[in-house]
Structures are given as C-alpha cells and as structure tokens.
C-alpha cells in the first residue's frame, strides 16, 4: 500500500508515564514516529502531543485506534484529513565568512527568518514554518556550511473552530 505523511494531534491527561505509553505503543507495534512534540495546553491537566508519522492507510487506522485505546488519551485528531496550520521551529548555526554574510542575510530575509546570534565566524538563524519551508531553507544554506541544527517537531492546529 502507498504510504504518506500523517499529522496527528493528540490530547492526553497530563500524567506521569503518558509519553512512555505512547512511545511504547509505537515501538511495540512497529509503528514509525517521524517527529513528536509534547507541551501543556490552556488546561493544566491536559497536554497536546503533535506527532508526524509516515505509513499506509491501514496502519494509520490502527495507530489512531490503538492511541485512542490508551486510557490516558482523550482525543486523537487526524489533521491530515482537514485544513490545518503547521509550524516547526529550528535554530540553524551556519558558517558566516565575511564574503558570504550578505548572501546569508538575503536568504534570511526572503524566508522571513531572524538572526538570533552572531559570532566572529557564524550566524545562528531562527526559522519557523512548515516542513516544506524548512527543507527549502536548509538546502539554500547548505553550501555555506551548516555547523549544527536544533529543531522541534511539528506542531499544528486545525483551522476550524473547536478542539
């Protein structure tokens, strides 16, 4: 079967061990996690997990059902089925030789990123966007020499009203 990328938004009880239950479910059943992001929500007892995974249609159905079966999982929302906004934040440290600085700043400008740290021989750039934007940005910076990257997983919300 054909695989594609799915983005799940999962609300869970904010209790110890919840993340381990979810990670254990994925490893135990051989499901794949591309990225994972966990943080609290406006309700202090509830956390939101945003998870990206690549699989086929039958597997995503099992993933959703199995997640839902976990006692601490409140809702599982498959954003891929609807319109949603997605963001991912990354910090990219890149070599910035004097003759390349102007070009880096131009790229930063085009992508509406920000330089958040400047050294004698490097810039650290903050970029926020969906994964496509990240990929495009990184491919342009690559020739300059990327030193290191720290990136969050994707976070996302459905565009419609309600949770």
């Amino acid at each position: 079967m054909e695989t594609s990328r799915y983005l799940l938004s999962i609300l869970v009880d904010d209790e110890p061990g919840v993340l381990s239950r979810i990670a254990g479910l994925f490893s135990g059943r051989g499901f794949n996690i591309d990225s994972l992001n966990v943080a609290t929500t406006d309700d202090p007892d509830v956390s939101r997990i945003t998870m990206a995974t690549t699989c086929d249609a039958q597997v995503i159905e099992q993933i959703k059902k199995q997640l839902h079966k976990l006692i601490n999982v409140i809702t599982v929302n498959d954003l891929t089925e609807k319109k949603y906004v997605e963001r991912q934040l990354a910090l990219v440290k890149v070599h910035a030789k004097p003759e390349k600085r102007a070009e880096i700043l131009r790229i930063v400008d085009i992508f509406r990123c920000r330089v958040v740290d400047v050294g004698h021989a490097h810039y650290t750039v903050e970029i926020s966007g969906d994964s496509g934007k990240h990929q495009a940005f990184l491919s342009l910076l690559k020739p300059m020499g990327i030193i290191e990257i720290a990136s969050t997983g994707a976070i996302a919300l459905a565009r419609e009203m309600g949770k």
């Binding site: 381990s20 239950r21 479910l25 006692i71």
Partner: protein, 563 residues
C-alpha cells in the same frame, strides 16, 4: 474516619464485591497481609509462587464471571507476576494485581527489591498505576477495578509504595468513577444492525464464528438463538469454546490450526462470516491471504482495534457482543424463517458430508492408551459438566477437541499467550470460585511441572482439583512440529526423565493413580474423580501421538494435514 493505606486497600477491595484474593507476602506487603487476616469476609489464599496467584485469579475470574485479584510483594514478587498478567492480557480477563513497592522516598534509588513494575508491565496490562499520593489511593483502586472489568476487560496493575500503605489518612468513599478519556461504547450503530440482517438474508452459506468476547459478555444464549433462528452453523476459536453447545447439530467444532475439517472447510467455502468477539489471531486464520476467499465478513467487537486489524471486514460493528446480538435478534424476529434461511439445506448437507467423511478420529487399540480416548472418557463420565482447565500443548488441543463443551465458562485455558503451567493454578482459582463444581486440569507431563508447587495450595485450602496428566514423556506439541517439519529430529523434547507423579502427589498430601492399560482408563478416571481431595491421574499414553487435523503455520485453512 482515619485509616491506614492498607486498611483502605482492604476496604476498597471488599467494596468491589471481591471475597477471595490470591497472594504471597513480602516486606512491602506485610501491612496489607496483617490487615487482611482481620477480615473474615475476605479470603486470602496463600499460593506457593506469585505466577500461581495470577493464574489462579484468572481461573477465578473466568469461572465466576467476576474480577480476579492477586496481591504480591515488590521486586521479585512483582516480576513473578508478569507471565500471568501477559496471559490475562492476551485473553482479556478482568483482573487487578496489587504489588507492594519500596517507600516513595526510595523509588528510583535502586533500593532493595525495587523494580519498575509499572514500566515492565505497561505493554501487557490494560492500564497500570503507581500510587504516590495517599489521598488518591481509594479512587485509584476503584478506577482500577472499573477499567479491568469494563469495555474489553483486561488486567490492571496497582503499585503500592510501603509508606502509602502505612500513612493514616482521612478516608472517604470515592464518588463513582468517571474518566473523560475512557468511555467504552457498548451500543451498536442502528444502521449496521439493519445491514447485518440484510446480509444474513442474502447469504446462502453463512457461518457464525464466535470467540472469547462472547464468553466475556455472557452472550452464548444470544449466539445460540441467532444460529437456530437462521440455521447458521457455528464454529469458535479456542477462547470461544462453550459459547455454543458442542452437542448441537449446527456445531462445526473449533476453527484453526487444530480445528475440525468441517469447520475449516466451512470457512473456506462460506459466503458470509458473522464474527463475534474474535480478533482473527493467526492460529485461527492460517494464511490471511487465503482466509475465507468467498466470504463477506460482519465483525462485532467491543474493541475497535480488533476490527480491520488483520482482516478487512465489510460490516464492522463496535459494541458489546450481547447488546449487539440482542439488537440483531430483535430485527430478525420481524423476518420470516424462510427469508432468513434461503438455500440453507444444501449448505448444511455439504457440511454434514464433510463431517461424515472426515470426522475427528483416533484409533484406540488394546495395547497403548490414546490421549484422545482419555479426554473423551472424561467427558462421558463427567457428563460434560466439569470445569476443564488445561496446560499448553497437545493436551490443550485434545481437551478442546474431545471435551464437547456445552456451556460457557467451563473451559479455562491460556489461549492467547499459551502459558505452560497455567492449568493447575487456574483450576485452583476456578475451584475457589465454584466449590460445588468438579474442576479438572487436563495436563501435559511437561507443563504440570511448571507450577507443580501449587499442589500444596490446593491441598492446604481443600480446593480439590483433579489433574489428568496425558503423559507422553515428551514436550509433545514441539515434538509434533519436529516430526512434521524437522525430519523427526527430537532435539530437547524428550522428557522421559520425570518425577514419579504418584509419589509427588503423595509428597504434597494428595492422591495419585497411574494407568497404563486402555482397559483401565475408565476405572482410573472414576476412582480418581471419586476420591476426595486433590488427585493426580497419570495416564501413560502413546508417546508419538499427534494432534490432527493440522494446518501448517502459514498454510491455508483448507490445506490440512489429516490422519
């Protein structure tokens, strides 16, 4: 009211209607055990190994249609429960396991007898808890029972640090459990019900396939009505045996690797499967790609993950088996019998022909006892009324094939995990639940040695169980695979160096009988069953008998090895 954590635990267990628990003490549970013995209305059965406690709780839960409870200490006590918990998880048995734990202040410090049992059992429990706040103790216990027995049942573990058990706190009965993140759906979708009835009317060669879910939702009456109303033949999984009378003409026998010829052929040729409370395990489907090639499938299950997991189904229904069948029956009653049984005669005739040409069979000669003969005689003598537990292997399959189960909750076996050593402690649990019933463990000579220490539990507590050993001096089921698929190279399966089971019985204060002659099988059974107390009957049987039919792993159900 001020109570200690241990007092609260006992109070809450009793509040759940539990009157018997199976346990083994240690440093971390002394407070609980000290409290328990003060309560005449809560029986604590001291097992001889923690694995035994969990299997006994399993047997108790199944025989009594209730929730089993086990209580063990921290560290090794807790790790010894893992096999039993995993078995109950695979078989969806409602159970709560309480473990002592080191004091909260020591958790994470590699303290003496500390293990992360919540971490260890996360994948083999329905849910589990570490109680860190004494104020949440009572509500957590109540929640544990609620989760264990609702929805698709399963084992829940509660880890109890020693300081929590000793702390005095204000006790209040918790309010009714309500979880926003856990709301099992019992009621089926109405539209799907109409679709089921239409599919039954359209079918020419339907089969009902019932599983453990029918037993756990107490729906065998409804299954039987459905079958009889629309004249649909019935097969079951191992876990479903007893859901439909094994003496009814519509009975096909068990399905799967060691299913009957007619059951496997029926699935191969049917045009509709009504699957109720099953999960299409590989032992039942054989090669998935060749499973039921001509059939549409209706699947009814309380657990949405069971549906579409291994097999695509045309009519999925999430709901309690009993409730769903009630809805279906109500709508079926509005149809005429003729509408529900179109062209049924040729289908039933075909099945009957399969039954005539290729029945389950064995050939009992005068010299050596056939294990199947022992089980069939046991069935005759007990009139099919005993609760049968089994060990694992050939003994389990022969019990399934030849004790023609007529009623639910009378066949107790480790189906999903296949745990050798399950049968004896499970029989003890069943006997504790149903003291007036005859309880028989159909055992293998290998498996019985895995929890043999529980003989002492049976004898001490006058929980009389009768153990029928089908003694082939082999790890027989593995030997059978070696015979069929490994050129008869019997590597590591010969167990003829065995204890004398008669002396062993006597050493524990039980009684033992040996039988080597086919002519004496019946006598030995009668004597063994009539002798008061716990009894071992050691039947020395044909060494290299095999279980037939057999669908080789990965083969199509209709491609069976036959005698």
């Amino acid at each position: 009211m001020k109570l200690t954590g241990a007092q609260i635990l006992v109070k809450m267990i009793k509040a759940q209607g539990v009157d018997t628990i199976f346990g083994y003490p240690g440093g971390a549970t002394i407070d609980i055990h000290d409290e328990i013995v003060r309560h005449n209305d809560l029986r604590h059965i001291l097992v001889r190994h923690e694995q035994g406690a969990v299997h006994a709780a399993d047997g108790y839960a199944r025989a009594h249609k209730t929730t089993g409870v086990a209580l063990v200490t921290s560290g090794p006590g807790a790790t010894n429960t893992v096999t039993g918990i995993a078995s109950a998880h695979a078989d969806s048995i409602p159970m709560v396991v309480f473990c002592g734990q080191v004091p909260t202040g020591l958790i994470g410090n590699d303290a003496f007898q500390e293990v992360d049992i919540v971490g260890i059992t996360r994948p083999c429990t329905k849910h589990n808890y570490l109680v860190k706040d004494p104020d949440k103790l009572a509500a957590t216990i109540q929640e544990a029972f609620y989760i264990a027995r609702s929805g698709r049942p399963g084992p829940v573990l509660v880890d109890l640090p020693k300081d929590i058990l000793q702390t005095q706190i204000d006790f209040q009965m918790p309010e009714e459990t309500h979880l926003r993140s856990y709301k099992p759906n019992y009621t089926p979708n109405k539209k799907q019900i109409a679709k089921v009835v239409q599919m039954v009317k359209d079918a020419r060669r339907p089969v009902i396939f019932a599983g453990g879910g029918v037993i756990s939702s107490c729906a065998s009456e409804e299954i039987t009505r459905l079958a009889q109303m629309a004249r649909i033949p019935v097969t079951t999984s191992l876990m479903g045996l007893g859901a439909f009378p094994g003496t009814d003409p519509l009975w096909l026998g068990m399905l799967g690797m060691h299913g009957t010829f007619r059951a496997n052929m029926s699935i191969g040729h049917c045009d509709l499967i009504i699957a109720v409370g099953v999960r299409f395990d590989d032992r039942v489907t054989g090669n998935i790609a060749k499973f039921a090639p001509h059939a549409s499938i209706i699947q009814i299950d309380i657990d949405p993950t069971s549906i579409h997991k291994n097999i695509p189904v045309q009519c999925p229904i999430v709901g309690d088996c009993k409730t769903t069948l009630e809805h279906i029956l109500a709508l079926m009653e509005k149809q005429t019998p003729a509408q529900l049984t179109v062209e049924r005669d040729p289908w039933l005739a075909q099945i009957d022909q399969w039954k005539q040409t290729t029945p389950l069979k064995y050939d009992q000669q005068a010299d050596v006892i056939k294990p199947q003969f022992v089980v069939e005689k046991l069935w005759e003598i007990t009139k099919g009324q005993a609760i049968i537990t089994t060990e694992v292997g050939q003994n389990q399959m022969w019990a399934a094939q030849y004790y023609h189960f007529d009623r639910p909750n009378h066949f107790i076996t480790s189906g999903g995990l296949g745990v050798m050593g399950f049968g004896l402690p499970a029989a003890i649990g069943a006997k504790a639940a149903c003291p007036d019933k005859l309880v028989v463990d159909v055992a293998g000579d290998g498996s019985i040695q895995m929890n043999i220490q529980e003989l002492m539990t049976a004898v001490e507590n006058c929980l009389d169980v009768k153990i029928v050993i089908l003694n082939n001096r082999f790890l027989g089921m593995v030997r059978q695979w070696q015979e069929f698929f490994y050129n008869k190279a019997y590597a590591c399966t010969n167990i003829e160096n065995a204890p004398d089971f008669i002396k062993l019985a006597e050493a524990y204060g039980a009684t033992g009988f040996r039988c080597t002659d086919p002519a004496c099988v019946e006598d030995t059974l009668r004597k063994g069953l009539d002798t008061p107390g716990t009894v071992i009957m050691d039947f020395v049987v044909e060494r290299e008998e095999s279980v037939y039919p057999m669908v080789p792993a990965g083969g199509a159900l209709t491609e069976m090895l036959l005698v």
